[in-house]
Amino acid sequence: MKIHEHTAKDLFEAEGIAVPKRYVANTTSEAEEAALKIAGAVVVKAQILVAGRGKAGAILKANGKEETSKAARQLLGAIFRGATVSSVLVEEQLSISKEFYLGFAIERASKKAIMIASEEGGVDLEETARSRPTAILRILLDPLLGLRTYQARLAGKALNIPTPALASFIGICQRMYKIFVENDCELLESNPLALTKSSQLVALDARMVIDDNASYKHPEHGEGTEELTPRESSAKQMGLSFVELDGDVGIIGNGAGLVMATLDLVAHHGAKAANFLDVGGGAQAEQVKAAVQLIVKLPNVKVILLNIMGGITRCDEVAMGVVQAFTETGSKLPIVSRLVGTREEEGQRILSEAGIEMTKSMELAAKKAVSLLK
């Protein structure tokens, strides 16, 4: 779950990390007020959850009420990379002498959290990673002890943080790590972490991604549905793992790997899936019904491909759910199914009785589904 810049900055501030003076504005007039309060050059930043806002033109500079108003008007309601801007952050411009990168992330290979730091901040870290990998410092963090002072100190030295700002840098590292762990973050970064002309370290940007599996611990951050389509949101509430795509073959399966492989098969046969949908292990009829109803209503879908490899999942439950969904929605969409595993005879019988065609393998099912598109 991605967290808005302004929320992350509030957390930074509460923890004692310096951030620029700033106001959230939902309207042009709120932006004007903010400009008056700040009384100087400002940056107007779209509060959207996509990366690369600067390049996309979602961050504008302004000076004074008129320019700020104009920038806010330009951003509010605009769409950048699919995200609509409903608020902007009006923030004081600071005189910067140098920009650093500082972030915390989970590293799969080491099975640990790491601190990432670079003297080259304010630019895309991925680009730095490609062009000058040695410019990026990666520090492994002990899962129980966390970031130790000496590690932060060495990072500060490696980044050539000026001596008067070194203690502040160490403090920022420790405080960001605290926020990272206490909020169950997958990612927390400040890019840039800027050194001002007055030798202060200030987090000019803040990006925060919370582990979805831990979001129950952090209800203050909402349900993380802002990045989802309305259908994805409602699927999430039904406990379905669902992603909307832009093809026309509706997919229902159980198990993430199997569903991914089903999408791949559709692609292999030259078509595109309309969605990813994993009903999960041990799905009941009710859940399957909801899943089918969801797919049936996807605007692009021309055919449905059902692929169940029942282990925990009972085929009869799946079949009942499918039949109920078609009955209730009255859908006439063609459906190709493959249903094996626990209680497969019962399941296959239920589907056959409802006139739904069965195939012997997922590969045949995919091929058949794609052929029905033509």
């Binding site: 989970i106 799969r108 790997g257 199997l258 999408l263 692609a267």
Partner: protein, 297 residues
């Protein structure tokens, strides 16, 4: 530690943590039906109950007092109780802890994996189907009837896809030595590379099938490490998620192409460059296995 025949064998004596829940109870029955020695269960507050004849205790220590030969614990507890349940199992020095539960917070996983590692214990999972050595023991939720005894070892990040491939191997007359579901989370106990090494070292395993998916670089690291090996068992692979878009989580917490890395293309390329055939379709794996003899040792 009593881990021969790769993680589980017929000496495996299982404790089920979270045995009284729906999943815990169902799979206890299924494991028992398979012949697995499920000897005790734990659910705090449910001491004295029986699940499929298996006695339930309030704590891991009580279960171990009841059967000191317990050497594996399988966890079906809710995600928010996993961290504590692993500490409890680890503090009783149970050498193998299999976490079936999904949706475990990654910071919890990091802590328990570290804790188990410093005690010399092995965690498999979380968010995994477990481990099966066909004919010997099944620790987890795999549908046993799809597997058959044989000489092909499997390592997989995906549950149902493993069943799919195992059942196609079984139909093709190719049995399995051990299938290890390492789980679909970004941080897991037993890694892809560790699991493959267990199969490499296992005299019962002649060939290896690995089932990867998008996200992370476990497949790439495995490929890089195998490229250096002189003697290695024949290996074939499958990678799910070629059609997945970047930046979206495909069911598994770990199945996400992020910052432009973790794509199926990269993984396929790395595996092929290391001389490991990658099947285009799941059904091709049995053919690739049959023809893999000559390429490796």
């Amino acid at each position: 530690m009593n881990i021969v025949a790769v993680l589980v064998n017929n000496n495996t004596r299982i404790l089920v943590q979270g045995i009284t829940g729906r999943e815990g109870a169902n799979h206890t029955r299924s494991m028992l039906q398979y012949g697995t020695k499920v000897v005790a269960g734990v659910t705090p507050g449910k001491k004295g109950a029986k699940i499929e004849g298996v006695p339930v205790f309030d704590s891991v220590q009580e279960a171990i007092d009841f059967d000191p030969k317990i050497n594996t614990s399988v966890l079906f507890v809710p995600a928010r109780q996993v961290e504590d349940a692993v500490y409890e199992a680890a503090d009783s020095a149970i050498p193998l802890i299999v976490i079936i539960t999904e949706n475990v917070p990654v910071h919890s996983t990091i802590r328990v994996v570290d804790y188990a590692a410093r005690k010399g214990l092995q965690i498999v999972g979380p968010n995994c189907p477990g481990v099966i050595s066909p004919g010997l023991s099944k620790v987890g939720i795999m549908p046993g009837h799809l597997f058959s005894k044989g000489k092909v070892g499997m390592v997989s990040r995906s549950g149902t896809l493993t069943y799919e491939i195992a059942s196609s191997l079984t139909r093709a007359g190719i049995g399995q030595s051990t299938a290890i579901g390492i789980g679909g989370d970004p941080v897991i106990g037993l890694s892809f590379m560790d699991a493959v090494q267990l199969l490499e070292d296992d005299p019962e395993t002649e060939k290896i099938v690995i089932v990867g998916e998008i996200g992370g670089d476990a497949e790439e690291r495995l490929a890089a490490s195998r490229a250096k090996l002189q003697n290695r068992k024949p290996m074939v692979s499958f990678v799910a998620g070629r059609a997945a878009p970047p930046g979206r989580r495909m069911g598994h917490a770990g199945a996400i192409i992020s910052m432009g890395s973790g794509t199926a293309e990269e993984k396929t390329k790395a595996l092929r460059e290391a001389g490991i055939p990658v099947a285009d379709l799941p059904s091709e794996i049995s053919d690739l296995l049959s023809s893999s003899e000559s390429k490796d040792k």
